[in-house]
Symmetry: C2
Subunit: 465 residues, 2 copies
């Protein structure tokens, strides 16, 4: 694993905090090594830095109590959801208390008439959508993993539906959060729009637990569309596929998803999910609208794709066939790992203006080949966001070093194309140097915000900045 930066530990404070929390929480405060390591270990490529204890609150008041105890003693507090973040977001470089939110999993209030729902942070997106299905509603943000909604808000997650429905920043109406001094705030009313002061909602969304702990989330919902149609189309090159994407977006087709798999990813999907797709670059699409309109949209896309040499075009409105394709897309992380058993996956996450996408993806592929790296690419290409998953033997210092060089090179490339080093995974520990390179002096003002809201740096220290 790649070594993570450590920070000085407040041993006395930590001991005292664990004792005080144990007194209040009994067996909902755990210090066993395996459990602690699970709460530092995630899908990340960065080594585990376990917290000193894990506490399982069941209410906002309990979260506030935990933060107050830790604030008194200047002890780090790290919020934890499903542990599916990729950049070491839940590591404890200075030790401290992990707050596992997964027992706060209540759906607090569904407002069908307002198309919103209030949930606790431990509710997962699949749990929410199962609950909503009978009401004809759904929550569109889909990062692949069955992540907790608190974690998704904290990392400003998005995923395959973002091209149509936006990211978490667009779908959170309001938050309840525990701030660094233990104060519980609500960031906004339940109105669908507001000009009431600074946008505390958007400040906390994407703050990765460094400015406050999210204890309740009010989310916008969508009606389940009358018709859903999926389509796939193969291309002779990634470049052709990207150009077809660009034209589709410019043409104004309101695609709900438009995903790219390069030939390596298609091979991985064939192997992992038992598909028989041509092993060339592939676009997967989904259209949400009325019965007539989804067919029209799919046909217009097919025409555009044809102009760029697209072939083996297939479309279906059958739920079973759709689900098979999209399940394969969801399983891509694991499918790609199957291309090199035993390897660890390091995912890049650059996002560039869509006019630069074809160039960025093609250059990224050529560079990986040149460096001898196995790096299947999948992407939410409607947003200009794609992931190269580097398959690395982490025991090999040479491979680790090559991977780091590649990640650094690709992030710089995206930044030079007016893009970002992270479209949706967040900064965590892993991308801190790139945030500096991307935003420069702006990070000084981010640091001022952090110091203002968390003067003792107890909330998820060592992340973002």
């Amino acid at each position: 694993m790649v070594q993570a930066t450590t920070m000085p530990r407040n041993e006395t404070g930590i001991k005292a905090a664990v004792a005080r929390l144990a007194a209040q929480f009994g067996d909902r405060l755990q210090t066993g090594q395996a459990l602690r390591e699970q709460h530092g270990h995630t899908t990340t490529w960065i080594e585990t830095q376990a917290p000193d204890a894990v506490v399982f609150p069941t209410s906002t008041e309990e979260v506030a109590d935990i933060v107050k105890i830790c604030a008194d003693l200047a002890v780090p507090v790290i919020a934890f959801g499903t542990g599916t973040s990729l950049e070491g977001h839940v590591n404890a470089p200075a030790g401290g208390i992990c707050v596992d939110m997964m027992r706060m999993d209540a759906i607090v209030a569904l407002h069908q008439d307002d198309l919103d729902v209030v949930v606790q942070p431990g509710v997962t997106r699949e749990q929410l959508n199962t609950y909503l299905r009978d009401q004809g509603l759904f929550f569109p943000i889909d990062p692949g993993a069955n992540a907790s909604l608190g974690g998704m808000a904290a990392t400003r997650a998005s995923g395959t539906n973002a091209v149509r429905y936006g990211t978490m920043k667009d779908n959170v109406l309001s938050l309840e959060a525990v701030m660094a001094d233990g104060t519980v705030i609500r960031t906004a009313s339940r109105a669908r729009k507001s000009s009431a002061g600074y946008d505390m909602t958007r400040l906390l969304v994407g703050s990765e637990g460094t400015l406050g702990l999210i204890t309740e989330i009010t989310l916008r919902l969508q009606g389940i569309p009358e018709a859903i149609r999926s389509a796939r189309c193969s291309f002779r090159s990634v470049d052709d596929a990207c150009r077809a994407v660009m034209m589709t977006i410019q043409y104004g087709i309101p695609v709900a998803r438009i995903e790219l798999l390069d030939e390596l990813s298609v091979r991985a999907a064939n192997q992992h999910s038992g598909l028989e797709l041509p092993e060339v670059p592939l676009l997967l699409l989904e259209f949400h609208s009325s019965d007539a309109s989804v067919v029209e949209q799919a046909q217009t896309f097919a025409q555009i794709a044809g102009d760029f040499g697209g072939f083996d075009i297939a479309a279906t409105s059958t739920a079973e066939e759709r689900n098979k394709l999209w399940q394969a897309r969801h399983d891509m992380y694991w499918a790609c790992l199957g291309l090199r058993p035993g390897a660890k996956g390091i995912s890049t996450d650059v996002c560039v203006p869509i006019s630069r996408l074809a160039d960025c993806v093609s250059t990224a592929r050529a560079k990986a080949e040149e460096m001898g790296l196995l790096a299947p690419i999948v992407g939410h290409v409607g947003d200009g966001n794609f992931h190269a998953l580097l398959l690395i033997d982490m025991e090999s210092a040479e491979e680790r070093s090559k991977a780091e060089a590649y990640v650094s090179w690709l992030n710089e490339l995206a930044i030079s194309m007016e893009g970002t080093c992270t479209g949706e995974h967040g900064i965590g520990q892993g991308k801190r140097p790139y945030l500096q390179r991307e935003l420069g002096e702006t990070t000084r003002f981010m640091a001022a915000l952090k110091a203002a809201l968390d003067p003792d740096n107890i909330l998820n220290p060592g992340k973002i900045l």
Copy 2:
């Protein structure tokens, strides 16, 4: 006029700043009384508090120079666009320097392939849309007034199209801003989505010039739809109209605009714009889609409206007829003033969850009648946002006091319905007490952000907090 709070003046600093700015800017630094008063006086109902000088920069570097001089001398700096804000946003309660951005009116770069444009803050929305028309693109946010895009970003403006296209928060990709120490920052890359650290873009959008001066804006654009169809429908009661709105939204019809005029507003529009609409509550709608789809959407709406007693339903795709109706809607502020010549208009701006809209509007109307106030209501009802425009003789202490009591009562009502005191006008000077009542302790953290980014409180002091 209603008196505004004053703040202590730094006379020595102001004199020195005016002298230093005069030396650098020559006749682009003006101190004439009429011009200064124009820059404090806006469409607001709050008395004018003129700045001590108005400076007209033409570049970001010049804005940075101005801020550095003012920072050195602890002198207030107030950004100014078209002066169409409603809550005393550009008043100078502690005096200081007004920075008129209207000579920074360049369209810096149009990225057609990326559907975005980079503009200086003095570009107005009409100027931008005129420029874009030949490209088949448009910028959808339309607050009615031909406001500057810098001002619209600073107040998180929205307007008639927000139900479909969102508010400024959803349509600003990135900002360049001059911070309180004169540092120029860029808040984000030009990528369509990002998880790169704290959302500085959304923090500055809606900050009303209190955290930084916006010097460049990257905006998302939309393709001009293949077809635009407008519709109108009369109702026997505001309640029926609101229920039809709620059902239309729940039904998932992607209306581009859905606006309510109550009977007083319709009378005002008839008088001002020479229309002959039935003087009963009216909904005005617009649909953006393909030729077939706008007709289908308008028909579905007509069916829903019929269920709520809607009558005199008319729809048209002719540009001339559409423009006549929407021009009347845009002119409502002036049309309503015509109902009582000589009166001043005080606009409320509450926004509530849509399930509470019918109740909120009906109660607001009944209360105005009960208090003997003339208060036509217009609203962006698809978002739950409406304006009661109180027509007040500002010479009458009794009327002023009634108006203040009504505004306070309505804001409290909206807050009690989980809504906000401001859907789109912002806090400025006028709504500060209501922000406190709406968000309570949250405002303490807003104050911490302000102190962190502007420790000497030089950026538009006396606003929001």
